[in-house]
Amino acid sequence: MNREPELSAAEQLAAFENAQREMTPVAKRGAKQLGMLCVSLGLVLGTLHGLLHVYHPERSLTAFFVLVGAAILAIFALSLGYLKVRSVLPRGMSKAYLLSLFASFGIYAVTLTLITTPMAAFLVVLLGLAVALPLLLGGVWMMKR
């Protein structure tokens, strides 16, 4: 395991810092990929929530199932696409992703009880934004790191 020459303390420190510098663009690329997944998932969930207010089960059961099915397919395709391209997961990003995802799903679940309640269009948009917000914020934070 030890064919390469051993380094002095100063050389080791320089090699360590150099390796960390070389990792910076790689980690940034990984953060951008995960950030884009977060933003896309946020938009899918927010849009789904908004559309379910318009096409709720009491109004059209078929439209409801089509919308939910399309959203599941979109989430599946996005996740699969991410798994194919991801090469690096920067430190702390998996926790940030899970936190954003659970926050968005939590708001989605809580506000789902309101889908049959008649409300103004801007309130529907606001609820959709509230659902998407954790994932959007998480995604933008990742892409800006």
């Binding site: 303390a9 360590f16 960390q20 070389e22 991801r86 090469s87 690096v88 998996s94």
Partner: protein
């Protein structure tokens, strides 16, 4: 009398490839083998050899899986590896601060 910082140095990390490998892993939760090899600029065999050596000493965790039909190997630092590296770097900083 306190111990000299050189006693805190870890002989497992003094090799340049191993040190670069550990440094690269410090900033990530997980990285795939191919990206790691390209970043470090080493061959498959050299990287495999060092990963195996560090994994045997529990500094690294290796996970093998598939994306579609393609096999992928993922590497990450273990908690033991992270703390050992931090101690080693701390010792290096103390030693070099006197130069």
């Amino acid at each position: 009398m306190s111990e000299h910082p050189r006693t805190q140095m870890n002989d497992d990390f003094t090799n340049p490839v191993r040190l670069s490998l550990m440094a690269a892993l410090q900033g990530v939760d997980e990285i795939d083998f191919k990206t790691l090899r390209e970043t470090l600029g080493v061959s498959d065999s050299v990287l495999s050899r060092h990963i195996t050596g560090l994994e045997e000493k529990s500094y690294l965790k290796v996970r093998k899986g598939f994306v579609g039909k393609r096999p992928r190997t993922w590497v990450k630092l273990s908690a033991h590896g992270r703390s050992s590296l931090t101690e080693h770097i701390q010792a290096l900083r103390v030693i070099t601060s006197g130069l």
